[in-house]
Symmetry: C2
Subunit: 349 residues, 2 copies
């Protein structure tokens, strides 16, 4: 399989990106070619530091970089020679199966959607994140792609998120929930109420609504929401974790006893950090586009890039997108059947 | 001033409610009468434990209780003799200035909106929460009242939230932001984009969008959002904090060294718990209804109830609702003026 990597995207590009790629290639023998796209001179300089060079690497020049602050749509339109769009072009031409980028999320979503288009039957792509919790790892989707979705989009997210959970997390029968502001069926807005109604008619393992209180309660393995809510929840969780770490550090500094105690207990803090480490989870996954598209987070370490490549390779090897097309077709056949049967059911009451 | 308290609402009612009321009365001499509404026998039993009895307390019987699991609208319609609705009725009749309840949030919002109606000029009430952060305490609004708001509702929240921040937190010129999924002006959904446009035309200290990453970054003192998003953010933050506490405790138990370290550093954990203690902030405030309406959280301790009563008393004393009516009128005059001036401005371009 072949993978294209945006070597210039992210806060520590190209250094961390190139280092992560080199590490990944050591582990992933199934990758037969890896395109490193970006400023050739800078990429070569990074590669030289990590010699000997893997013959599977091919550096592809791109003269521009989409920065983290570039407005997404304009950046994609104007910076046609950017490392990100060039990398996506390689997938579009069919020369690679997957793209990995740690660059500007909005631009990646826009470019991938525009250039790769959606998979057959998928109306809108969605961004899926894996979130660790004490007793399970759950998929939160959509974390930022589709701002004003229709109920059917959320249902399609549920199908794609379930496949993601099965293939990458390894759950056999992932529990699906709609994010709402209460667990009761009648709680929600127009979008969640109708999504809930449709999801009940699918063959997914749908368990109903979940609210923010139960996020980490091992209640659901796939949680669907519109991009606005998904993004808000994701960032609120991250902010709170950072806040608590910051506050605790501050408090530990306040006297020598606390400082010493924190030192003795430091194994616990390290273990917690490992458990909650986003680098372990290979970034976010733009599900529903025609090509595997992984968004590593902006501050990706080499390990994060390596894991993003592992997820990409796993998805290509597992024919992930082919499964999506099949399951989405099944979903729509199923929904059509149920909806056309419904008037009959009602008259028997 | 006179305050009505739902003595039966909340997980630890009537015990914690009555205890909190008795504590509050010791501190708040300005409260001249306090109605404790609910099961007379149970309330009297709790009062007897805390003798001598404050002569300002008047027990008012109500035969029913709205439980935490009752669906809001039905509960309000059917349980007309519930402690919550009876307490609100006292405010409606004008016999009390404020109502405090730790009961079912949805039912309280519904009953207060239905019975007390909104203040002059306010279209929809919103639930405001105070959230502690290292360098400021901010108001998040709406945390759960109005699921499908219009932009003007969010602008009114900004006005009411600013007054709340001024009067209760003590900020002179609170910074107002719209919660969105990015800080850039063009990022958002229809609701936030239009709210943003309107807020720029007000005399509020509007600083633009905020996203989940900056929540605790001392960027804004009043953050407005629709109820769905506000509720999601609030619960996600609470869940993450609980998750980390749970995970850390688990890790500390894993070996004696960590356990001992955690013991030495325990002052830091206690300090953090105090800082993040929701009981300090007197619960959430339903802003925009005709009467002061404070929702203490369901698991309220006596201290939480006492602080909720303190906030209620401060608001009554500070003529909080009169200020809202005045500021909302100013807002609409201002917006009308700007909007009617706009065609002129445009033609000069």
């Amino acid at each position: 399989m072949k993978i294209a990597v945006d070597a210039m995207g992210g806060d520590f590009a190209p250094g961390n990106i190139v280092a992560g790629v080199v590490e990944a290639l050591r582990e992933q023998r199934q990758i037969t070619r890896l395109f490193l796209v970006g400023d050739t001179a800078r990429i070569e300089a990074e590669l030289a530091k990590l010699a000997p060079r893997d013959p599977r690497i091919e550096v592809v020049h791109a003269g521009e970089v989409i920065t983290m602050n570039d407005p997404a749509v304009q950046a994609v339109r104007r910076k046609k020679d950017s490392s990100m769009t060039r990398a996506i072009d390689i997938v579009k031409r069919g020369d690679a199966d997957a793209i990995v980028s740690a660059g500007n999320t909005g631009a990646l979503l826009t470019a991938a959607h525009l250039k790769l288009r959606t998979l057959e039957g998928v109306d809108r792509p969605g961004l899926a994140c894996l979130i660790p919790s004490p007793h399970n790892v759950f998929v939160l989707m959509d974390a930022g792609a589709n701002l004003e979705p229709h109920p059917i989009n959320l249902v399609q997210y549920a199908v794609m998120g379930s496949l993601y959970s099965q293939q990458i997390v390894g759950y056999k029968n992932p529990r699906v929930a709609v994010f709402s502001l209460g667990t009761e069926e009648m709680k929600g807005n127009e979008l969640t109420l109708e999504s809930h109604r449709l999801l009940k008619q699918t063959s997914l393992n749908f368990i109903g609504n979940i609210d923010g209180h139960d996020l980490f309660g091992n209640v659901a393995d796939v949680i669907v929401a519109d991009a606005f809510v998904g993004n808000a929840v994701l960032k609120a969780c991250e902010s709170t974790a950072r806040l608590i770490a910051h506050w605790l550090k501050d408090e530990f500094q306040k006297n020598p006893l606390r400082k010493f105690g924190a030192l003795l207990a430091s194994g616990a803090f390290r273990a917690l950090k490992r458990k909650a480490d986003p680098d372990e989870y290979g970034g976010a996954f733009l599900l529903g586009v025609n090509g595997i598209c992984i968004k590593a987070h902006g501050a990706s370490s080499p390990k994060a890039v390596k894991n993003a490549l592992r997820v990409a390779a796993q998805c290509v090897a597992g024919q992930f997108n082919e499964h999506i097309v099949k399951e989405i077709k099944k979903l729509h056949d199923n929904l059509r059947q149920v909806e056309s049967a419904q008037p009959k059911v009602q008259t028997t009451h």
